[in-house]
Symmetry: C2
């Protein structure tokens, strides 16, 4: 097991990374001070892991409420969030109830926002069961829901008490979702950790085989990279924006195609390919670096082209993104492998070319 301690001022917490962590309830029990616990999961994850988490807590004398939500990004809405509030209030959960998020990013984001908002804030614990949520949602305290007019538009910065990233839960992850998680892993190498990028080039076969040791290393190193950036910038005013590499294009793909058609990680992968392509056309990124980037994503079975939405539609969708400031779309671009920078004044012609040429008709599968 690996342990990463995050220290973001008042909100220090550990991330535990290893195999079979769910079978060790003593890891989380010290972080549950309340007698009431509510575990929030979804219809896919609950049958696999709910009782594994709930049973030992009940055995330890906790009163455990199980809340099972429908599965999917399209349910990351106020209506679904309200199912959590309904259940908590119907069960008369008090101000000190501890919420546990058991699932992927959607469950983590919604449960975190529910914890931030229920009675103005109750403690919560993250048990991310997908690779994407283990390397992304574990660090940074971003919680929230989507709005019909934009993704993650409503939410809070709210930190968990502890994160338990159990590699064993990744064994039940469908291949497509697993690859989507690798997109965010690759992102950390690409934006700020050249050495990790090289490690990934060499170890992609082990990762695809879901080798536990390789996974522990990749998850730990990804979280460590994210933590380094977040610690420097907890409220996302500066360098943290670099974590959005691939996300400006990616969010446009997700919104343009309808949430849930592309997986978030797939859209981010295509978005990174588009950002790398744009960086290359601007003369910042070499053709060789672009080729290595695309090759690594292809090795991870990820798309390297965006959806064919039309350049105008892309620009429209990207303009309503949270990264917009004073009306100008800000892109995260690449100077080289391991170095990303923010850039606002992108040449419209080059952007147009990327939006027309680094796209394809087929859906990821």
């Amino acid at each position: 097991m690996q342990r990463l301690d995050l220290d973001l001022g008042n909100d220090a917490y550990p991330i535990l990374i290893g195999a079979d962590l769910l079978a060790q309830p003593d890891l989380i029990l010290p972080y549950i001070r309340s007698s009431q616990v509510a575990i929030v999961s979804n219809t896919t994850v609950a049958p696999l892991y709910m009782s594994k988490v709930a049973k030992p807590l009940r055995h330890a004398g906790k009163s455990v409420l199980e809340i099972v939500l429908p599965d999917g990004e399209e349910f990351k809405t106020w209506e679904t969030l309200n199912l959590i509030f309904d259940a908590l209030l119907r069960a008369r959960c008090e101000r000190k109830v501890t919420l546990i998020a058991l699932g992927g990013g959607v469950i983590g984001d919604m449960t975190g926002f529910a914890a931030a908002s229920y009675q103005r804030g109750v403690p919560f614990i993250q048990i991310p069961t997908t690779l994407l949520s283990q390397v992304d949602s574990s660090v940074g305290g971003k919680t929230g829901i989507n709005h019909p007019l934009g993704k993650n538009m409503i939410g809070a910065f709210y930190q968990p008490r502890i994160v338990l990233a159990d590699m064993s839960t990744l064994n039940t992850l469908p291949d497509r979702e697993y690859s989507a998680g690798l997109a965010e892993v690759i992102k950390y190498g690409l934006l700020g950790d050249c050495e990790f990028f090289c490690w990934l080039e060499q170890n992609m076969p082990a990762l695809l085989a879901r080798d536990t040791a390789a996974l522990e290393y990749a998850v730990h190193r990804s979280c460590w990279n994210k933590a380094k950036i977040v610690a420097a910038d907890e409220r996302e005013s500066g360098v943290r924006a670099l974590l959005n590499l691939g996300h400006t294009f990616g969010h446009a793909i997700e919104a343009g195609m309808g949430y849930g058609v592309w997986l978030h990680g797939e859209a981010v992968a295509a978005g990174m390919a588009m950002a790398a392509d744009l960086s290359c056309r601007m003369g910042w990124f070499s053709a060789e670096e672009l080729a290595r980037t695309l090759a690594l994503m292809q090795a991870a079975k990820l798309p390297v082209k965006g959806a064919r939405l039309g350049a105008q539609r892309y620009i429209e969708l990207m303009s309503s993104d949270k990264k917009v400031e004073a009306g100008t779309i800000r892109f995260v671009l690449l100077k080289r492998i391991g170095e990303a920078v923010m850039h606002a004044n992108v040449d419209a012609g080059l952007l147009q070319k990327v939006l027309e040429q680094r796209v394809a008709d087929e859906l990821p599968a």
Copy 2:
């Protein structure tokens, strides 16, 4: 003009209290760093004060969005909150938009929660236009909405950049709402400021006449009292609970009668009368002190009896209140005028008597 500086760690902000403050835009302009501003008000307040606030901001070069919500506690819901998000997103408001709450407690609570949640947090400014919101919502950062199963169940602790309490806006307040505000003013005297209670006994006629000097003093002293308690306990784990004097009974009245039938301040007044009565029956509060308390509230034209809900219904409603811990209803009771204490183990028989005897059938009017 009086000024009260709150210093709650990272979130220091001033409260300005005086007459004709809305006519002085230079008071708030230094606190608006964004070019986009959204003013949230309701159908009652907007016709009176919206242009007074919006015009000078536009004159100063700000892009001002006006958001007018329906008026009333019954609209303190997710659906209404979502009207704010809809308007912000439709107007493509960015992450640095400043929200201004222009109205009473409902507008302040909803706008504050919208500011806390929109894109995970944007700056906001409070311009409370009712007496209740000037003495209550100005201090403490409580924001939120109601849920069908409980009042203020969903929200956040979120501090404004500045609060502008303009005494002139109180001139347009209906008598009933004005009295409801006096309930919270009296509360500060009763729970922790005996000298202020005596001042109120002497100056209630001036306050009822809406004398500006008396009002400035009363609002300043109320905010000062609240700030003293909140500063000692920002997350409401200890002494801050004393501010809920009258609220456990009061919330039960509001919920039991349906939100909006009793004004919040009226329910709090009746709740304080019930708490004082219970304290008296327990032998803590003297009969003379009870009489003075009831007399001061009657002088302020406030009810001194709760709604006749039935003892069982009261207990049921009070058990789902946020103040509940480990299943026990915690009451704020009175040791004497100027000293409130938390008490959990109230004699059921005495409580029953209060719930049956300190109630009446008539509605406040």
